[in-house]
Subunit: 240 residues, 2 copies
DNA sequence: GGGACGTTTCGGTCCCCACCGAAATATTGC
DNA sequence: GCAATATTTCGGTGGGGACCGAAACGTCCC
């Protein structure tokens, strides 16, 4: 370590919190990026609606977010689809959300829409709502997961169950991200499954077409095939 | 899961990114909170200097940060000492920093000051500079730590070595925080030790008075006792 | 008590930025 | 080519907030 050989001149740097924070400080931009947190790609038109602004304002907001490396754009025909610049952005913002206050969303007048959300939806990139809670309940009840110090850890039988559903637990453990964490469900007030495992299960269920995203919003529906598959794989009866 | 008993009315909430982001969006406030990230308590007077503003502006900034629950205040005589509101704030901002660009700091004209920082300093709550890098080098060289998927994991001999230095590895593993991560050193361009272990080692060395914080800034000095202790405990020769 | 110092409140100025409408540019489908 | 739609650029307006100096309030120490 005492190697005092010729070293390039000192350059001390510091993280520029303010630059990125300024990007999130606008309600319109915050809403846009929050809508992208679960990994979807949305057009400028859709994101304008998300941010409650007109197209011109949305265009400038999106350009700023791209400049700040938080999102990237993928032109597709006359649309331009925006998505998160990388998984690290989602991870960092998920952590950031831990110190953010929560505000009630009162814009769900239609109770059928609220009910659909409450039944099953995504929370960033994992499953929430009654379905998400039920899933975690099943995992714990069958001892596929057990409480561990940061979140949960998977048992041998859990690993087999997950493998049969197309989830490679060992690959997940190699991720930097917290393996399996508890995430408090806002409608159910009980925990659902987050972290790398929560995201992987969601991806696997989407891949098998056991669940599908509703066209807009965060709602999720369970397909007829899903009802059968879920009851066989995880021994749960999906909620109505 | 099918327990459809009488449930209170639905309340859907969402994280308000914008509210907290607005607090970090001002360069003055960002600098202030960054200065508090390593756990120190600083007075309003000192934080005004950190943020390069006069006392009135600093006072308003600090009031806003307190209102936003990012910091808390502890009156002490005619001073008011400000500190982070909790460890979760430090953890969340450490993650947030991962997606922030880094800007060079050119205000270190006095090369002796720059040299001191380059020698040993804290990076948030763990050790950096030549000393921090040397520490990680020693841990890897003696195989007390080995590369693992998220960061590093400790070996049996490493655990013994750390215990003799006053660090309880098992207690650290129970923390939610990433156990031991690699953090790129800005002056050395090589990794030093971050995460829960990095913080715990720093605390242990401060407790034994092997290192001391310089009165201002992030610099750290190694005490005479530290030179002896460090060479015995970790088999490293501290940098000049 | 009185001076010194740390901190906050108040009043006022200035600038940045978020927004819009109108118009320009790009792409699709007929 | 032409109409329709998606997106961006431009010019201009308005509001919020970041800052300062002056002054008020609190605390310490002689």
């Amino acid at each position: 370590m005492g190697t005092e050989t010729s070293r390039p001149k000192i350059s001390i740097v510091r993280a520029d919190f303010a630059a990125v924070a300024r990007l999130l400080a606008s309600p319109a931009r915050a809403a846009m990026i929050e809508a992208l947190l679960d990994g979807r790609s949305l057009s400028a038109h859709e994101l304008a609606a998300v941010g409650s602004v007109r197209a011109p304002a949305a265009s400038e907001h999106l350009a700023a977010l791209v400049r700040g490396q938080l999102i990237r754009v993928r032109p597709q025909g006359r649309h331009r689809l925006y998505e998160l610049a990388g998984k690290q952005v989602a991870t960092a913002l998920e952590a950031f959300a831990q110190i953010c206050p929560t505000t009630p969303v009162s814009s769900l007048r239609a109770s059928s829409q609220a009910e659909a959300l409450r039944s099953a939806r995504t929370c960033y990139d994992h499953l929430a709502g009654r379905f998400g809670v039920a899933l975690l309940d099943a995992f714990l009840e069958h001892r596929w997961l057990v409480r561990s110090s940061p979140g949960y850890s998977v048992t041998a039988s859990g690993q087999r169950t997950l493998r049969s559903a197309g989830v490679d637990v060992n690959a997940l453990k190699r991720q930097r991200r917290v393996f399996a964490r508890s995430c408090l469900d806002w409608t159910e007030r009980r925990p659902h499954l987050g972290g790398a495992l929560g995201a992987a299960v969601t991806t696997a269920l989407l891949d098998r077409d056991w669940i599908r995203r509703r066209p807009q919003g965060r709602g999720v529906v369970i397909t007829p095939a899903g009802k059968i598959g879920l009851s066989q794989a995880f021994r749960i009866e999906p909620v109505s």
